[in-house]
């Protein structure tokens, strides 16, 4: 099987590749959004702690 044939997907390249591409996109988005949401929460928690410490001192 050569690359050309593989990429052509038996004539369904226009459907198969976008479906896989979209899946990759959604999985990567989820990965990024989950990490960002956690990092943001951690940053907020740290900031609050610093404020609290400054207010005490």
């Amino acid at each position: 099987m050569d690359l050309q044939n593989f990429l052509a997907m038996g004539g369904y390249a226009g459907y198969v590749w976008p479906a896989y591409g979209l899946t990759a996109l959604v999985l990567v988005w989820n990965w990024w959004a989950a990490r960002r949401s956690e990092a943001e929460a951690l940053l907020n928690a740290r900031r609050r702690n610093e404020y609290a410490r400054e207010a005490r001192s």
């Binding site: 099987m1 593989f6 997907m9 038996g10 004539g11 369904y12 459907y15 198969v16 976008p18 479906a19 896989y20 979209l22 899946t23 959604v26 999985l27 988005w29 989820n30 990965w31 959004a33 989950a34 990490r35 949401s37 956690e38 943001e40 929460a41 951690l42 907020n44 928690a45 740290r46 609050r48 702690n49 609290a52």
Partner: protein, 242 residues
């Protein structure tokens, strides 16, 4: 048993445990998804009717499965939170929603892309497609409802009720292809009889489902940690953890 449970449900303990667990989900998930992609695109034989277009199955069916699985997890967590008043369960429920919504979107989009060459249309208002679209609206409604409350406890309770009522849609989605005449094909794997799909095509599908399942484990761990941090921002233990 109860002591163990209380320890597990305590936010600081759960926060640390989730952090330790996440990579154990994440790396195997990545490996399995890559393996299944390669297997599904290269190794699996082309379908005798659909040719290579059937390969969309390997991303469509797992995302459709995850869209329903995530909803059930979300509804069960909401029920646990509502009945036993466990804050962590409400947090888990909230963490599920964006993940589930993204899988539902993916199932609808890949299904639409598959539908065009096979059915000749991107979309039909048949039972399976319509009930899956309703699932997407349930997720979005759930998130919108949460966001509309300032008080997290009231948001928890109101959204939990929505999540629990909406679970009725899950069996409707699953059996829609049986109860109504639809364009969508019937169940070929999730039924009691022998799967009506060749083993050579089935193996990559199961690998992909396992990969997606682990991926969900990773995503929920990360999102739940964020939820815990947001909810526990005034708690003493956070001062040491952050």
């Amino acid at each position: 048993m109860w002591l163990w449970f209380h320890k597990l449900a305590s936010p600081p303990h759960a926060y640390r445990l989730l952090g330790r667990m996440a990579p154990w989900f994440g790396w195997p998930a990545l490996g399995l998804i890559l393996l299944a992609t390669w297997w599904g695109l290269f190794k699996a034989p082309a379908d005798y009717q659909q040719g290579d277009a059937f390969r969309i199955l390997y991303v469509h069916a797992p995302s459709a499965w995850m869209s329903m699985f995530t909803y059930v997890v979300m509804a069960v967590a909401a029920a646990v939170g509502l009945i036993w008043r466990i804050k962590l369960a409400h947090a888990a429920s909230a963490a599920c929603a964006p993940i589930g919504a993204s899988f539902t979107f993916l199932a609808l989009a890949t299904g639409s892309i598959w539908g065009k060459p096979m059915w000749g249309t991107w979309w039909v208002w048949d039972a399976r497609l319509t009930s899956e679209l309703l699932l997407l609206f349930l997720y979005l409604g759930y998130m919108a409802l949460r966001a509309s409350f300032d008080d997290p406890q009231r948001a928890d309770r109101a959204s939990a009720v929505l999540a629990i009522v909406g679970v009725i849609n899950i069996p409707i989605i699953h059996f829609s292809v049986k109860w109504w005449t639809t364009l969508h094909q019937g169940a070929s794997v999730t039924k009691l009889a022998k799967p009506s799909i060749a083993l050579a095509m089935l193996v990559p599908l199961f690998i992909m489902i396992a990969g997606f399942q682990l991926y969900f484990g990773w995503a929920i761990s990360r999102r739940l940690r964020g939820e815990i941090l947001r909810r526990e921002r005034n708690a003493g233990w956070l001062k040491e953890a952050s």
